[in-house]
């Protein structure tokens, strides 16, 4: 009876796995659409292999030991031996984890270093300044001199340098299908390089709690063909309204706003990565 229960318990995670295969198309992390996410996906798959191996070994040993050495009426007079340990065995199960950890550490370190640089060295990366504010994302294209709120368009196959900062609490910039996240922090300038391999719409969101409406800090990353992107930039430059200081102040007010597009950027008058230290006391009227 108990034995059956135990078997059933050990099968529980597996059965859930089967159940889950139904919703795997929603698992964005496992649907990489860019080289960064792909690198991370490969690392994840590589590690999952080892982890499943460990789980299988431990679970099998566990089940065998429990079944064989449980108290049974027929071995009522059995008295377990006095054993202190076994040096050889203990060395074996110290060395095997060391090997596994090494096998995981090497690709981890490689990938961690690789992700700091663009994959495509021959293509000039596009720089986008990202400002997290309560509770919206502001994207500034310094070279194109345009600005968007809560959505960002990028060209496919071009590395994009997202330079992250915040005018409030720490947020984390995460686009699961393009790659892992990085924090956007007040007075700091962190850099996250992502790239999309194909046109498409990718969900992005803040992954670090930042207060009341944090759950709504979603944005869309729209990857376009290079031509479409150039066309979009041109259109924005020609048709979108200008962002005024006053308008920018209202955007920064705590709250949720919809999508917005402007044909200039706030970088012209304020650089949050530098000015955060001082502007609390300055009279430029920025009110968060």
């Amino acid at each position: 009876m108990k034995q059956k229960m135990w078997k059933w318990v050990s099968l529980l995670p597996l059965s859930l796995l089967l159940l889950l295969s139904g919703c795997s198309e929603n698992m964005l992390v496992l649907q990489p659409k860019g080289p960064v996410a792909k690198t991370q996906y490969d690392l994840i798959v590589w590690s999952v292999g080892f982890m499943l191996f460990i789980i299988v070994v431990v679970f099998v040993l566990f089940a065998v030991v429990l079944i064989r050495y449980r108290e049974k009426p027929e071995r009522a007079d059995y008295e377990p031996p006095e054993e202190e340990g076994n040096t050889l065995l203990e060395i074996i199960w110290t060395v095997i984890p060391i090997i596994i950890v090494t096998a995981l550490a090497i690709p981890t370190v490689k990938a961690t270093f690789a992700l700091e640089k663009p994959v495509k060295k021959e293509v000039k990366p596009l720089t986008i300044q990202v400002t997290a504010a309560n509770w919206k994302w502001i994207f500034s294209y310094p070279e194109q001199n345009i600005e968007t709120v809560n959505y960002v368009n990028i060209p496919e196959d071009v590395p994009v340098k997202f330079q992250l900062t915040s005018v409030g609490p720490i947020n984390s910039f995460w686009v699961p299908q393009l790659g892992g996240q990085k924090y956007a922090m007040d007075g700091m300038n962190t850099e996250l390089i992502l790239q999309a391999d194909e046109p498409g719409s990718y969900m992005g969101r803040s992954a670090n709690f930042s207060g009341k409406e944090f759950a709504h800090m979603e944005f869309e990353v729209l990857a376009q063909t290079k031509d479409d992107f150039a066309k979009w930039v041109k259109e924005v430059q020609q048709t979108a309204p200008k962002l005024s200081k006053k308008k920018y102040e209202t955007i920064l007010q705590p709250g949720i706003v919809g999508r917005m597009t402007f044909s200039n950027t706030h970088l012209a008058w304020i650089d949050h990565t530098k000015q955060n230290r001082h502007y609390m006391n300055s009279d430029d009227g920025i009110n968060r």
Partner: protein, 648 residues
């Protein structure tokens, strides 16, 4: 300040809580008065310096806090069951996950572990009390008033809402102007001081008060883990003390340590928090390893396999726990070299932990395994903790962590290690040592019901969260939209949480049922135990051991039983036993701490200063206290020993 700023208003749930708090207080006062128990309460509990009673009070508080934290958890699960739920608004949800995390770690897991160690460690080392019994009482009461101060926040003034990590600048005045985070800073500070003193107390107790013959390498594994945990507490908690003090200054006196302006650095808070926070999780997990070691060894009827390796691996884990804190924010952009370093140190923890897992498995091998409730919890720990452990290694891989960080993958991971590690250990330890506390056993049948409900519910609740994380669901979201495909797994998780809740109710019923009908433990050794606590009577006599036992090897009591005599007390050798006197001062000082803390929370500095003067007065009175205890006469010891059947 208007009354509706002082009391939290506008929420039906809060009003219900108000009513139930008032009714509970009236009920308690009525019962104490009606049964004339005030004096009993004061003499037996409020003024006690007995480590066993203090331990019991720790555990009762922990179970209460488990209830509070569990209700928080169920409210969160209710809100997340379906997309766009309107059950809780974002502010309320934010408060609930903040209090859930803080309470479960600091006011549930810690005191549960500290309660068990209070009860067990002196017994395991053959001591009559801890090194500083008075300090021990003060530790408990400081923890208790800290917990109470934190808990009243939700009806008076408002709960903290910046997460249990309280990251700045969010937790600063600018973004959290209410008193909620003042509660966080002050309440944690008060109970943290208590914990720090516990660490010092038990370090000294274990190093100085072991029975003759008990060398360090003959100590029971639980005592070993507590010794190392004390070292962790002594090194880690001062960091929290300092960080919380700076936070308090920032919030109350407008200093700028972590703010966005004037050179404040919010990342400094995150670093300080986790320099304490990572050792902290080992402070609750290492004693759990100790509890499992004791129970596995007892119910396999075998000596712990690879005792020395077990000791070395605890030391290794404890050392590593101080050099991994950056893995909590690989995404802060510290650079590839820094992240790689912390990645490797973190993964390295898997090595000593793996050694422990295999040593437990090999303790079971060739054993004679009895499936008691305590053993079921301990056995279930192994597979569940391995799932939590391997996903921990996955999170440790910096480049991959960028995809897991702050997602439900992380939530699943740390609940797998903290519940399957610490909570299972608390329940296992509770069932195992229950006769030592109360003289009767917990009902096994109900215990097994709790186990299966809770353990299966736990897996149903948290396993799907790994996948929710991979789907992009992040922690601390109070709602989500329907199109994301997260609904089915969230429904499953809620079902699991409900099962866990039912398991908890069965546990509470079991405590009541066993008190009335439970099997009395007449032998003092119901499990055929191996260590010295089983040589005492159940419940344990006030002075623990009439004669201090002599230890010749590991599993001292097992040796005595194997030698055929058990633990015999030679009445000729009895001497009067010196015991510390009760004192009401730790309790009163802690009350003063409560009011000082409350004054600070609301910036009522007059109240804070007056209460602080009472604290100082308490310290002065203690300094001139020349009560150095009393003696229990030989006659009285003989009487007690004959009564419990342990004497000759």
């Amino acid at each position: 300040m208007k009354w509706n700023e002082f009391f939290v208003t506008g929420q039906p749930l809060i009003y219900a809580a108000d009513v139930s708090i008032v009714l509970t207080v009236i009920g308690i006062v009525f019962i104490l008065t009606y049964f004339k128990k005030w004096k009993w309460l004061w003499n037996e509990w409020l003024t006690t310096v007995d480590h066993k009673k203090i331990g019991v009070m720790y555990i009762i508080s922990a179970v209460l806090m488990l209830f509070r934290g569990g209700v928080d958890a169920l409210l969160m699960r209710a809100q997340l069951t379906a997309p766009n739920m309107k059950f809780l608004d974002s502010q309320h949800y934010n408060e609930i996950f903040t209090t859930h995390g803080t309470i479960m770690i600091l006011f549930m897991a810690m005191p549960f572990i500290i309660g068990l160690m209070n009860i067990v460690v002196p017994l395991q080392i053959g001591a009559r009390d801890v090194a500083y019994p008075y300090l021990n009482a003060l530790s408990f009461w400081l923890f208790f008033v800290g917990a109470m101060l934190f808990n009243i926040a939700f009806v008076i003034g408002g709960s903290p809402d910046a997460g249990w990590t309280a990251y700045f600048p969010l937790a600063g005045n600018e973004f959290s102007p209410g008193v909620g985070n003042n509660y966080y800073a002050v309440a944690l500070q008060i109970s943290g001081i208590g914990t720090l003193m516990t660490g010092i107390n038990f370090l000294v107790t274990i190093l100085k008060m072991r029975a003759p013959g008990m060398t360090l390498m003959r100590m029971p594994m639980f005592t070993w883990t507590i010794l190392i945990t004390c070292v962790l507490i002594i090194f880690a908690f001062p960091v929290l003390t300092v960080a919380l003090a700076l936070m308090t200054f920032d919030r109350l006196f407008d200093t700028q340590f972590f703010t966005m302006a004037n050179g404040g650095m919010s990342m400094l808070w995150a670093n300080l928090f986790w320099i304490w926070g990572h050792p902290e999780v080992y402070i609750v997990i290492l004693p759990s390893f100790g509890i499992f070691s004791e129970i596995v060894s007892t119910f396999a009827r075998k000596r712990l396999f690879g005792y020395k390796a077990m000791v070395y691996s605890i030391v290794g884990i404890a050392f590593l726990s101080f050099i991994v804190w950056v893995h909590h924010f690989f995404t802060m952009g510290a650079g590839a070299a820094v992240n790689s370093f912390f990645s490797i140190t973190t993964m390295a923890i898997a090595i000593p932990t793996g050694v422990k897992i295999f040593n437990w498995l090999f303790t079971l091998r060739k054993g004679k395994i009895r499936f008691t409730t305590a053993m079921l919890w301990s056995l279930a720990f192994i597979p569940n903790f391995v799932i939590g452990g391997v996903t921990g290694v996955m999170l440790a891989m910096a480049a991959a962590d960028y995809q897991y960080h702050n997602s439900y993958f992380l939530i699943a991971h740390f609940h797998y290690v903290l519940i399957a590690g610490t909570v299972f250990a608390c329940f296992a330890g509770l069932h195992y040592w229950y006769p030592k506390m109360f003289g009767h056993l917990l009902n096994e049948r109900l215990g097994k019901w709790t186990f299966w409900l809770f353990m299966i519910g736990f897996n149903i609740c948290f396993f799907p969260m790994y996948f929710l994380g991979l789907m992009g669901m992040t922690r601390r979201m109070y709602t989500y939209s329907a199109g994301l495909g997260w609904t089915p797994l969230n429904v499953v998780a809620t079902v699991g949480a409900v099962l866990m809740g039912i398991g908890f109710i069965v546990l509470c019923y079991n405590i009541y049922y066993s008190a009335r009908y439970g099997e009395r433990d007449m032998t003092g050794d119901p499990w055929d135990g191996r260590t010295l606590e089983w040589a005492t009577s159940s419940p344990v006599a006030h002075y623990n051991f009439a004669v201090i036992p002599e230890v010749t090897d590991l599993d001292a009591y097992w040796r005595m039983k194997k030698a055929g005599k058990g633990f015999e007390i030679d009445e000729e050798k009895l001497k009067p036993i010196h015991m510390p006197s009760n004192s009401g001062r730790p309790f009163l000082i802690s009350i003063a701490f409560f009011f000082a803390g409350f004054g600070l929370v609301f910036k009522w500095f007059t109240l804070a200063i007056i209460a602080a003067l009472f604290i100082v007065l308490g310290l002065i009175l203690r300094s001139f206290d020349d009560d150095d205890g009393y003696y229990i006469s030989v006659d009285e010891i003989k009487r007690t020993e004959r009564l419990t059947g342990k004497g000759a």
